[in-house]
Symmetry: C2
Subunit: 291 residues, 2 copies
């Protein structure tokens, strides 16, 4: 059974983009499509966590993925309910018992107020505990097939711009392609999906349009995915963390070109880089400076 | 006195980027430069606020600008000290008396735990209270001059990629050009600079490489700047908030082309769009999908 594009963007969905009118450089009226975003406030049981801006297509996956990637929920935890009030823009993720995070927060709050800093420290601790699968492989022929399939898939990006995407892949097949105004939201939605489907991470390749920053590397590692690819660039700490954790990190992947700065032992250079056509101009994506 | 580029990126500064080695698509060794980022934990008096990733060039301006743009500090507040411990990656902004934000936080904490959601509500309230200067102008000839000067200025972006920039401008002159791994950090640094210099906002133009999302529009309005320009695209709520607040919002500004979706009454179409040369290829910046 070969799975492909189980979830993919639906640029025609009416609630995800809208038309607006303005003027161009010559003062002429012009109509253009822009993505819609709405605030979503996330609660873990009775604990208010954060308000996020999202296009609103998978609020449940975003909520769970966010909590997982912030280490507020663990992979072994049980979720008893997810209550979404679309009008209020509120989503509540419920667990049968108070989570470790809530207990720790209560304690921190009694001693020193809000616990924002705790989150960062917890995430780093969790990151350092992850062991990525060493035997996963990435053939460069798969890489080229993936980027071609992803760049040509209909998307809100091609339709309306100003949006980020990330794609969970297996070999040369994109499986789950999520978009959102915030790059981290797109990543969290994938994490939420993997949790819901109990999907293994060992054999996956994660593709993002965003830059390979420390935060991006940390999330990928915490999701247990051993290979991360982007058409964008790197930060030094992103590279350092990738090397520390053994993540395979490939950036500036455009057409047949790329740079691997970590974990190159997983890569099988099977594609003939002399014969791969450069990206055709119509589907070429601009490089991303994103956050 | 015509001021120009009072602050600008210094791509040669040793602590802002570093060289790393990896392999390219043919398996050949390759060396490339990447930007460095480090965590900075911000305190407001004894209240821990957030940990941010930053290139670390203006921690004091980032700290103050963050607090202002999150409405935790008001424009009339006095800062008694800013203590930065570079080794620990901690910066403390001190005020003579407890701020309103801290008082509100203590109250919220006693009733319901962490106050993350309060921040969002406060920001929106503050945003709605701003009245932008209606008589500020943007000549399209200035716009073209600005983008040309900004795109050709030496920068970490041109040097190492994967970074965001924003520039505070006056007429056709860039004044303060800040970069950072997080686009919002670059914006906050400008806000911090304006606060320190007691710089008026009414006659300013704000240029960003990032997308014109609701958060970007909100920050610009809260900084009191009436004109916002980006080479990137828009989100629907960004456009809506711009129209609500009367902000002049110009996006997809590349070469001689742009779209204005709000506040076009401030724009004077004085440039002859037929004769403006397209951006030369060397200095062309890729469009941004950033967050």
């Amino acid at each position: 059974m070969t799975r492909e594009f189980m979830i993919r963007p639906d640029p025609s969905a009416p609630n995800l983009s809208t038309a607006v009118t303005g003027r161009d450089q010559d003062g002429n009226p012009v109509e253009t499509r822009v993505v819609t975003e709405k605030p979503l406030t996330l609660f873990l049981n009775r604990q208010e966590i954060v308000t996020m801006m999202t296009i609103g297509d998978h609020p449940d996956l975003l909520a769970v993925g966010y909590l997982l990637n912030q280490n507020m929920l663990k992979r072994g935890d049980t979720i008893s309910a997810i209550d979404h009030d679309e009008d209020l823009g509120v989503i509540v993720v419920r667990t049968p018992a108070e989570t470790n995070y809530e207990a720790k927060l209560q304690k921190k709050v009694r001693t020193s107020g809000c616990a924002q800093g705790t989150v960062f420290g917890d995430v780093i601790d969790s990151f350092e505990g992850v062991k990525l699968a060493s035997n996963s492989r990435l053939k460069t022929s798969w890489l080229y097939a993936l980027t071609r399939k992803i760049n040509t898939a209909p998307s809100l990006y091609l339709e309306a711009g100003a949006i980020h995407g990330c794609v969970l892949c297996e070999e040369d097949r994109p499986l789950v392609y999520m978009e959102d105004v915030g790059r981290h939201n797109a990543v969290d939605k994938v994490a939420g999906w993997m949790f819901r489907e109990n999907e293994p991470a060992d054999n996956k390749i994660f593709y993002t349009t965003g830059r390979l920053t420390s935060e991006m590397v940390i999330k990928t590692v915490m999701m247990g995915i051993p290979i991360l690819v982007s058409r964008s660039g790197f930060t030094a700490w992103g590279v350092e963390l990738a090397r520390k954790s053994g993540l395979t990190l490939i950036g500036r992947a455009r057409g047949k070109r790329f740079i691997v700065l970590s974990g190159e032992e997983r890569i099988e250079f099977d594609a003939d880089t002399g014969y791969e056509p450069d990206e055709d101009h119509k589907h070429r994506r601009k490089g991303s400076r994103d956050d």
